[in-house]
């Protein structure tokens, strides 16, 4: 797997735009459509904001985002943090049928990641959360 780009910054909201810009540029360089790039930006934001909010609690820590390509077949955004173990894929899906009063927003971010990406994998490895957002380059 070829690493196209890596960026490591403190896991804070103020770095969201820098991280998303990097992911977006990598996706564009893979020749992905504007629509697909937009979907990738949304999925990456949802994953990153979860880390900003929950990974390190009151402490500080970094998040590392790498763009990778696999034999021209798959584009992969790998997001790594050293925070609390957190498997976003284990978050229960929200009930999207409730009305305004009862509706909660929790879980929508993870739902968007799952629906917008071709594949998502999570593993906990040596104190790291490793989340991979996978986009097929060939239909």
């Amino acid at each position: 797997m070829e690493v196209l780009s890596t960026i490591k910054v403190p896991a804070k909201l103020e770095h969201l735009h820098a991280l998303i810009d990097r992911v977006s540029n990598c996706a564009k360089e893979q020749g992905l459509s504007e629509k697909r790039v937009n979907e990738i930006e949304i999925a990456a934001e949802e994953a990153l904001v979860n880390i900003f909010h929950y990974a390190y609690r009151e402490q500080e820590g970094d998040v590392e985002v790498s763009c990778k390509a696999e034999r021209g077949m798959r584009f992969i955004i790998e997001i790594v943090d050293r925070g609390m173990p957190f498997d976003p894929l284990a978050v229960p899906e929200p009930d999207t049928t409730l009305d305004v009063a009862e509706r909660q927003i929790g879980g929508i971010g993870v739902l968007l990641i799952k629906k917008l990406m071709d594949d998502v994998t999570y593993k906990r490895d040596r104190n790291q959360n490793i989340l991979r957002l996978v986009v097929n380059l060939k239909a």
């Binding site: 949304i42 305004v100 509706r103 927003i105 929508i108």
Partner: protein
């Protein structure tokens, strides 16, 4: 993100352009909150020039809608397209909100 609003009889039409993400969503929510605290109860939010929305944006919309419901107010949406339409569909927002093609049809269906 750029937000503008205009008054159509007793309805405020809010147009939001650009991107509503985790950074800009609080500003969007505050903008609507201000209009509600000034007495606004009927809103149409035009999303035809919105390029991007994440769950942070959905959260601000839902918070606004809950506020309005408590005041017997109403919020409708117009002009959804592209990724914004897709995000609304995935999130089930089509089943909880009134969504119209244009401001005109939203105004006619108050």
């Amino acid at each position: 993100m750029e937000i503008t609003s205009r008054q159509e009889k007793n309805t405020t039409v809010v147009t939001v352009q650009g991107r509503i993400d985790a950074v800009t969503a609080p500003e969007f929510e505050n903008y609507l909150s201000d209009l509600i605290s000034k007495g606004g109860r009927s809103f149409i939010v035009n999303l035809s020039a919105l390029e991007y929305i994440s769950s942070a944006g959905l959260r601000s919309i839902l918070a606004t809608a809950k506020k309005l419901k408590a005041e017997q107010g109403d919020i409708r949406f117009s002009g959804l397209q592209g990724p914004v339409e897709e995000v609304f569909k995935i999130s089930g927002f089509y089943s909880i909100f009134k969504i119209f093609d244009s401001d005109a049809s939203a105004l006619n269906n108050a």
